[in-house]
């Protein structure tokens, strides 16, 4: 089979490569020619096309994302910032924690089980690559209408895939989200977050230093996975033998990844690598070009040495293959023997495929013939940067205020609460979360359905971290700038409610097509809002992920910026759960309720969106967080008020506690009356349970921090009594728990 070598490319300048099929624009192709001073070879084009794709180059989002750098708050907590595989923060006692979220939306629509499974696999490798032991995962999910037939296909598959892969890796799943909205039909969102821990000195970076050091590929063999584009190349260039069929979807091998994790951690522990990079999107193209461009010199790679699962792969395909469960390490020759010994112990295939050079080029040969000769930076970092047109979408001018009946009589209150608690977005998620192992590793302090997931980091000192992921897409739809701020504030509140102090954030921004000016404007507003609030709150953005093109035809998904907040807790034994253990406790709502129903679940249940997102009150939220942390020892239980309002929060508390409560909501004191008191989703509110003897102390503390303090009831009995409406726990539980089994078996 004839190879498109560098010599050949220089000799045949006019040969047109199928760059459009690879997603490159004409000007981008010209730019590549300019960089190389000749036409690219098929292999070079393969590399540039994947690395310059939206997914790898962030070409549409770059101009906006740089705000995270420009507006970055001073933070000594940040050890590794945006740019590496994942950010790393200092949590004290010499521990460093890394966490990041990734999206695997489209693959999960095509093949829910494998799409979701490989999504988990990918984010876990990002965390491992930093030198950390992965310690937990979370999975924020979005689906179309709960009763839509396709949701019945997608949701069970996605959940089984996340569980199938995560459980097999031994990673506790400690939280996530499940939200249904028709805009996600055809565009389910499968975001996966992973958190890992290491000692400061063990942090690893994706850099190829030191001429003569070896490039080692280890893990699974390379197959024809995820290389649709390259196959075109392989067949259309000089490659005579047409490649065999290429997989439509990738199949994950969680066992291979589990072994890869243990093998890598043993390698890290003996300090055997100079640099390391996982193979995800763009596979070897990405790993080699990023390692080289982040390093000091160049790199030579002998591509024929890559172990193949499918011998029919062409060089272009090997470069582009996205086969899972692979890593690439840079190793000093003197340490190779030990490295290989550890790989043998774990039955992990490891192969030297090249070496670091003193030059400045990335040279790739195939059976001795030079097929790639590029400046690595131009592949990894000099991709196109677009300033896409933006326009405030028209729908924002035709929003209608929410109009709802008042809910006041006992019968109305009971019916409304039961209806809310049975609605898919609020109903019990344990049909899902029971499929996830939340105990493995033995350090799970809090997990679903608590406000945040909490993991013990040190068994002696009891140091721990808490993580919460949140997004309110309806508020982002109404007001993208404030919507994302509200999501971050909710996440911080979730963290503080559990007893941890917010420290750093990550994000996963899910949007429609960047070629739609309306979507682009919404995206820009979101990034501006997130950058602003992180600066205002002094929370560093450690990294994130952008997922565009989530739309069917002209219809985009609701803008869905998922924010993940990491918090630290000095002593996990002081954490606060949402469940109270005894009757006779006073229930107090911290924070005021107003009468805005826009974007609320209650309005959604009545087919309404509303016209204005709440205005984030960062000052009040910050004081609330301070209060929650300072008053921690007073709380017998605490639960954040968000989706579904007070009614959802108190229902979740009594059901988890299996103890009732008697609630008194004095209509006259609440703007919007009892209806708002129950169902409005006014931010900045938390319900806490305290011993009667602690009420005064809490009241004093609340006044000190200027946080509104409202006695709302007492715990006890076997019913939830709201004003004069009595809802037996058994009835409430049935409404809450039967929705998911009915929908999904």
């Amino acid at each position: 089979m004839a190879l498109d070598t560098v010599t050949n490319a220089a000799a045949t300048p006019d040969f047109e490569l199928p760059f459009e099929q690879l997603g490159l624009k004409a000007d981008e192709y010209e730019k590549i020619k300019g960089i190389l001073g000749r036409r690219p070879t098929g292999s070079e084009l393969a590399m540039y096309s994947v690395m310059w794709s939206e997914h790898c180059s962030y070409k549409s989002s770059k101009v906006h994302l740089k705000q995270f750098g420009e507006k970055a708050p001073k933070s000594d907590a940040l050890l590794v910032g945006i740019g590496e595989n994942a950010g790393v923060v200092d949590i004290g006692q010499g521990y460093a924690v890394t966490f990041k979220a990734e999206s695997h939306n489209h693959p999960s629509f095509v093949e829910p089980y494998q799409g979701a499974a490989t999504g988990v696999g990918g984010i876990v490798r990002d965390i491992l690559t930093m030198g950390a032991r992965p310690i937990a995962v979370m999975d924020p999910l979005r689906f179309g209408k709960a009763d839509a037939p396709d949701t019945r296909r997608v949701l069970p598959g996605v959940v089984a895939g996340i569980g199938g892969y995560g459980n097999c890796l031994g990673l506790p799943n400690i939280g996530g989200e499940i939200v249904f909205d028709e805009t996600y039909a055809g565009n389910p969102l499968v975001n996966a977050l992973c958190v890992g821990v290491m000692r400061h000195e063990d942090i690893k970076l994706a850099q190829a230093h030191g001429a003569g050091n070896l490039v080692v590929l280890f893990g699974a063999k390379t197959g024809g996975d995820g290389i649709g584009g390259a196959s075109i190349l392989a067949s259309e260039t000089f490659n005579t033998s047409k490649p065999t069929k290429r997989p439509a979807v990738q199949v994950g091998d969680p066992f291979a990844e589990k072994v890869l994790i243990e093998c890598s951690l043993e390698i890290f522990a003996e300090d055997l690598v100079v640099g390391i990079q996982d193979l995800g999107a763009a596979g070897i193209s990405c790993a080699t070009s990023e390692l080289a461009s982040a390093g000091t010199g160049g790199m030579n790679v002998q591509l024929e040495k890559v172990p193949l699962r499918d011998p029919s792969l062409s060089p272009e395909e090997i470069l582009m293959s996205e086969s899972q469960e692979r890593m690439c390490a840079i190793i000093e020759p003197s340490k190779l023997a030990r490295f290989m010994a550890i790989c043998r112990k774990w039955d992990v295939t490891a192969t030297v495929i090249g070496e670091v050079t003193s030059g400045d080029r990335l040279n790739i040969t195939f059976n001795g013939e030079l097929i790639v000769d590029v400046p690595p930076r131009t592949v990894a970092h000099d991709g196109p940067v677009l300033t896409r047109p933006m326009a405030r979408p028209d729908y924002l001018d035709s929003l209608k205020p929410v109009v709802l009946d008042v809910v006041e009589t006992p019968d109305a209150i009971k019916a409304a609460v039961l209806k809310l608690m049975a609605s898919p977005n609020i109903a019990d998620k344990s049909w899902v979360t029971k499929q996830y192992d939340k105990y493995v590793q033995g350090n799970s302090i809090l997990a679903q359905p608590e406000d945040s997931g909490m993991i013990r980091i040190d068994e002696q000192t009891h140091l721990g971290v808490a993580i919460s992921t949140d997004a309110n897409a309806r508020w982002s739809y109404l007001d993208p700038y404030n919507g994302v701020k509200l999501a971050l504030l909710e996440s911080c509140r979730n963290i503080a409610t559990s007893g941890a102090k917010p420290l750093a954030i990550t994000n996963c921004l899910n949007f429609g097509s960047p070629e739609d000016p309306g979507v682009m404007w919404t995206f820009a507003e979101t990034v501006r809002g997130l950058a602003d609030i992180c600066l205002e709150m002094g929370l560093p953005v450690t990294g994130g992920n952008v997922s565009f093109y989530n739309q069917t035809g002209k219809v985009a998904i609701l803008p869905t910026p998922v924010v993940g907040v990491l918090g630290v807790i000095e002593d996990v034994r002081t954490r606060t759960s949402m469940a109270f253990a005894v009757p006779g406790l006073e229930l107090i709502q911290l924070g005021n309720t107003d009468d805005n129903f826009s974007g609320s679940e209650w309005a959604h249940l009545h087919g309404q969106m509303g016209d204005r997102a709440p205005t984030p009150d960062i000052d009040q939220e910050t004081r609330l967080v301070k209060l929650l942390l300072e008053g921690q020892s007073l709380f017998a239980a605490a639960h954040d008020i968000s989706n579904g309002g007070f009614a959802a929060t108190i229902s979740e508390m009594v059901l988890k506690s299996n103890i009732g409560a008697t609630i008194d909501l004095p209509a006259q004191y609440i703007p919007g009356g009892v209806t708002a008191g129950l169902f409005a989703e006014t931010p900045g509110r938390v319900v806490v349970a305290v011993k009667p003897s602690d009420v005064v102390a809490l009241n004093v503390l609340a006044e000190k921090h200027g946080v509104p303090f409202h006695k709302v009831g007492v715990t006890g009995g076997d019913a939830l009594v709201i004003n004069d409406a009595t809802i037996p726990l058994t009835e409430l539980r049935t409404a809450f728990t039967e929705t998911f089994p009915k929908l999904f078996g």
């Binding site: 494998q114 069929k245 199949v251 699962r309």
Partner: protein, 81 residues
């Protein structure tokens, strides 16, 4: 009582972690005959009376839509004699 068999295998280009694990284990147990192993599913379906062409068409349909995930798997329907 007739019997219809549906055999479901992963497409050749799709990674088969199970088959791979079995293939790797065999030599460790002293069995050296295997070049490669692929693992699939086998459904034994008992039907009333002799399988009719209509029934087989039905089974094909069930295999296509349900028994096999045709995104990654192929299947064959056989009548067991």
């Amino acid at each position: 009582m007739g019997k219809i068999i549906v055999e479901v295998m992963l497409k050749p280009e799709i990674l088969d972690p199970q088959g791979q694990a079995v293939g790797n284990a065999l030599p460790r147990l002293g069995f050296t005959f295997a070049q490669s192993v692929r693992q699939g599913k086998r459904f034994e379906i008992e039907v009333v009376g002799e399988p009719t062409p209509a029934m087989l068409a039905d089974v094909e349909k069930a295999a296509e839509e349900f028994l096999a995930n045709t995104v990654i798997e192929t299947f064959v329907v056989k009548v067991e004699k």
